[in-house]
Amino acid sequence: MNGTSKAYGMIAEFSTAAGVLHAAEKIRDVGFRRWDVFTPFPVHGMDKAMGLKNSKVGWFAFLGGVTGYTCGMLMIWFMNAVDYPLVVGGKPMFSPYSAFPPSYELTILLGSFGSLLGMLFLNRLPRLHHPLLKNKRFSLVTHDRFFIVIECDDPKYSETQTRKLLEEAGSAHLEVVEE
């Protein structure tokens, strides 16, 4: 708490989806790394325009699903065939057929948790405190505006050059956001 606030980055406002998409392509081509596009809804084609790779959420869901199925089968086998075998209706102590439905449900259950929690983990959420969330103008991002934010930490960032670049990309409103 030394009283001086550090700049977090430069926000550039756009009013159309096409505008922000083409601006993002320009920023990508310049080679920035610590930057992001903020939109009220996922804009089709933006991942490519930003040069993002395929999301890794699938691995978390897969891991959850495998865990669910394995745990389900092992649990039922242990309970009904190992720990307390009990003959019911002359059925086998363990059968993969009768153990399948609960294991199938557990696959889906843990796969879904994997998917949601994996998404939150990859996005580093929850994060209730963020410099952008303090900015009045930026709150329009959930309404109808589109923003490109270039962080000051980016090696290519320079106050004047970046401002010029974003203005050329068609931004109507530029602002430097404090940390």
Binding site: A24, V37, L52, N80, D83, Y84, G118, L125, T142
Partner: protein, 477 residues
């Protein structure tokens, strides 16, 4: 292929080929926020109180009935030998069937790229969650000694005996609890961006804190959206086999037994079709008045109602086809017990149940072939109520109709519900509508960010999205 697309030139389609827009009157995306979030903001409208007070009273009735039941015993219900399942299981199957439309709309229609789903999925998912809550109460209180309810969980009981997983009733515990949990996860995940909308619009400190807390700090970052969309796709992919499995497993509760009328292989698909049919009935019952009361006719348009009527027609016809198959097999099998049961479904003591089931499920939805009935909101509303009456009759026919006369005349009997049965059932409507009305008042009833995403303004290749006409599609390097 990608190369060829890159070279193509696009121009705005000629007006006669332009699709009917999903949001009427070319409303911009800011308008959508104002309109939808507005329902959960501002002064509580009078109609809300008019609906809420009776709902809350019915919820009180439910709590009273459950207290009475637990303190007295299951003898207060009409369940008795030979009809041991009675109304509680009918209500369980009926409510959980209603829940199926929510997941169908949110998951299956998502995978099928049905973009109209965005206007109705949130409310339908909420309906699912509340319907599954109503459903879940019944098997639990039906076990008689509710304090042993935990024996259904995979925990060793007092004699160190584990649950018996060779029984479909045990599968059902896993299916229903997974269904509830995954529905809540799916619903919540869809809500995160919209909670951020609510957070940024909130006027009071408390609302800012609560919406902000549950929005988890969502900023609309495209790096986040990228993971979010993938996670949503995977959840939809997981919820699709889930929704098909839940009612299949519920149907196995019946069809794994030997009883005529239950012991058939058609049950799983037939139950799933019926569930989706009744669910769409309930979605229409809720949304037809809601779009008017909340002034959302431009978001939930006549086109949406029209498509949902068509889904009702399709699933109703599948149900009708399943009835025909059941009757044919009952006759063709030559099994006298099977024939007896099916004859008595429509000409026995409970003929009215069988007739209502055939009339309301197989024939009434056929009216939706005619455009007039899909466009007339009063007709749609009335038919949607008949749909659910029909589906309740179907569950009645399956449960009571098969149990009251089976193989031996020694185990024949009659079933009569008591006032406690009726009041408990009515009470679940209290639970359902209380939850649903609270949802309307505090959360956006339409997925704001998803509806924004299907407007032409959201499409960077559409003139309204800012694209220059005759512009080249961005190349993929």
């Amino acid at each position: 292929m990608a190369e060829a697309v890159g070279q193509m030139r696009v121009s705005a389609p000629p007006p006669e080929l332009e699709r009917i827009p999903l949001v009427a009157n070319q409303r911009d995306i800011g308008w959508l926020s104002d309109k939808i979030a507005g329902v959960a903001e501002g002064k509580t409208p009078l109609w809300w109180w008019v609906a809420f007070v009776p709902s809350a009273l019915l919820l009180l009735l439910l709590l009273t009935m459950i207290t009475y039941l637990i303190s007295t015993g299951v003898g207060v219900w009409g369940n008795n030998h030979p009809v041991m399942w009675g109304w509680p299981i009918i209500n369980f199957v009926w409510w959980i069937g209603i829940g199926h439309a929510g997941t169908l709309i949110s998951a299956i229609l998502f995978l099928l790229r049905q973009r109209w789903r965005t206007a109705v999925n949130r409310a339908a998912e909420a309906m699912t969650i509340f319907a599954v809550m109503c459903a879940g109460i019944f098997p639990l209180i039906h076990i008689g000694r509710v304090w042993y309810g935990w024996w259904l969980l995979p925990l060793p009981n007092s004699n160190s005996i584990w649950p018996q997983f060779r029984s479909p009733l045990m599968w059902d515990v896993f299916a229903v609890s997974t269904y509830f949990t995954v529905s809540v996860l799916f619903w919540y995940m869809g809500l995160i961006p919209d909670l951020a909308v609510m957070r940024d619009r909130a006027k009071t400190k408390l609302r800012q804190f609560l919406y902000g807390f549950f929005a988890l700090g969502w900023t609309g970052s495209n790096r986040h959206w990228s993971n979010y969309e993938k996670a949503y796709l995977i959840l939809a992919g997981l919820a699709t086999p889930l929704v098909l499995s839940v009612h299949s497993i519920v149907s196995l509760d019946f069809s794994v037994s030997q009883l005529p009328g239950w012991h058939t292989t058609i049950f799983p698909p037939y139950f799933v079709a019926g569930a989706i049919y009744s669910g769409f009935g309930m979605v229409l019952t809720l949304l037809v008045p809601l779009r008017k009361l909340c002034h959302l006719e431009e978001v939930i348009t006549m086109r949406h109602i029209d498509v949902m009527c068509k889904v009702t027609l399709a699933t109703g016809s599948i149900v009708g086809y399943a009835y025909a198959t059941e009757y044919f097999i009952a006759w063709y099998s030559g099994n006298p017990y099977e024939r007896w049961t099916f004859w008595h479904r429509v000409f026995g003591t409970y003929w009215y149940g069988g007739m209502a089931m055939l009339l309301f499920n197989a024939f009434v939805p056929q009216l939706f072939w005619i455009r007039y009935f899909r466009r007339n909101l009063i007709a749609v509303f009335l038919i949607s109520i008949l749909v659910n009456m029909g589906m309740w009759s179907e569950r009645f026919v399956i449960v009571v109709g098969s149990l009251y006369q089976d193989f031996l005349p020694a185990s024949w009997g009659q079933f009569r519900p008591t006032w406690v049965d009726v009041c408990t059932y009515l009470g679940t409507f209290g639970l359902f509508f209380t939850c649903f009305l609270l949802f309307l008042r505090f959360l956006p009833l339409i997925a704001i960010s998803e509806v924004k995403g299907v407007t032409p303004q959201a499409d960077p290749h559409h003139p309204l999205g800012g694209a220059k006409v005759e512009e080249r599609i961005p190349d993929d390097e």
